[in-house]
Symmetry: C2
DNA sequence: CCTTGACCTTCCAGTTGCTGGAAGCCCCAT
DNA sequence: ATGGGGCTTCCAGCAACTGGAAGGTCAAGG
């Protein structure tokens, strides 16, 4: 199948699929006309990568997960370890964002937000105590 | 003062300060030797930008905040609106991450993580119902 | 047979926000 | 004058695509 169908089947833009080929995530065959030719297993891989990406794994992690997936004898412990690491990253990110949210939220609350020029947000950014 | 001192005073790497000059966030003067010459107000701006960035504003937003800050007659409503928008973005991001966390956390829980090859995480990535 | 339009190809550039490194001045102390 | 820092510029690269230009291919309609 052509890249357009592969795109429809996987939900990934054609551009992205070409990019994934560039970096060696998929290796579709080629027809006589030079068009890429995707078989079922290629599409399967694309879906796998799309799902992994949507869970926030980096492309390199996807590559790794893919290789684990294709290694029929691999241990699930490897996968679990990666997933756990990723989970920890997510938790850190959430914590960071919640800190931000608290700080910024407090500033927004204190800003009266009318047409007067004094503004606690700018004051804090400019010179107030950090954090 | 030289870029090194400005860096120490603002907490930003010299490289970053040069970059900020490149994109027009600061415009330090120059000495006869070609060295950048930062005055107090330049450092002040750098600190302002550093704080805004650390609150997660994009560089373009920092530029905007800076111009609002320098406009003595601006309305605090403008600032508040930007901050609120940013707050909404943060909230969306947190929600996304929490969704991820839930999905991935559930998968990790269900993965026994030993040396057997079957793994619910890979199964989900490969073909299970999409989140 | 020719044209039209959709689809495919490659390659180059741009995005965001820096960061690293190379090559080459400059300044100060010994 | 020599050494070691600090300063300058410019070029490249990170992630993960995305947009666009220039051109080849294919199927349908007239």
């Amino acid at each position: 199948m052509n890249i357009g169908e592969a795109s429809a089947a996987s939900g990934l833009p054609a551009k992205t699929i070409r990019y994934y080929e560039d970096i060696g995530l998929v290796r579709p065959g080629r027809g006589d006309n030079g068009y890429r030719d995707f078989v079922e297993s290629d599409v399967h891989k694309l879906v796998f990568v799309a799902r992994s990406r949507s869970l926030g794994f980096t492309v390199e992690e996807c590559r790794h997960l893919l290789s684990l997936y294709e290694d029929r004898g691999r241990a699930s412990a490897d996968v679990k370890a990666m997933a756990r690491e990723h989970l920890a990253r997510i938790d850190r990110k959430i914590a960071d964002l919640e800190g931000l949210r608290a700080t910024l939220g407090a500033l927004v609350e204190r800003c009266h937000g009318d047409d007067r020029p004094d503004c606690p947000i700018l004051e804090r950014l400019s010179g107030g105590p950090a954090a």
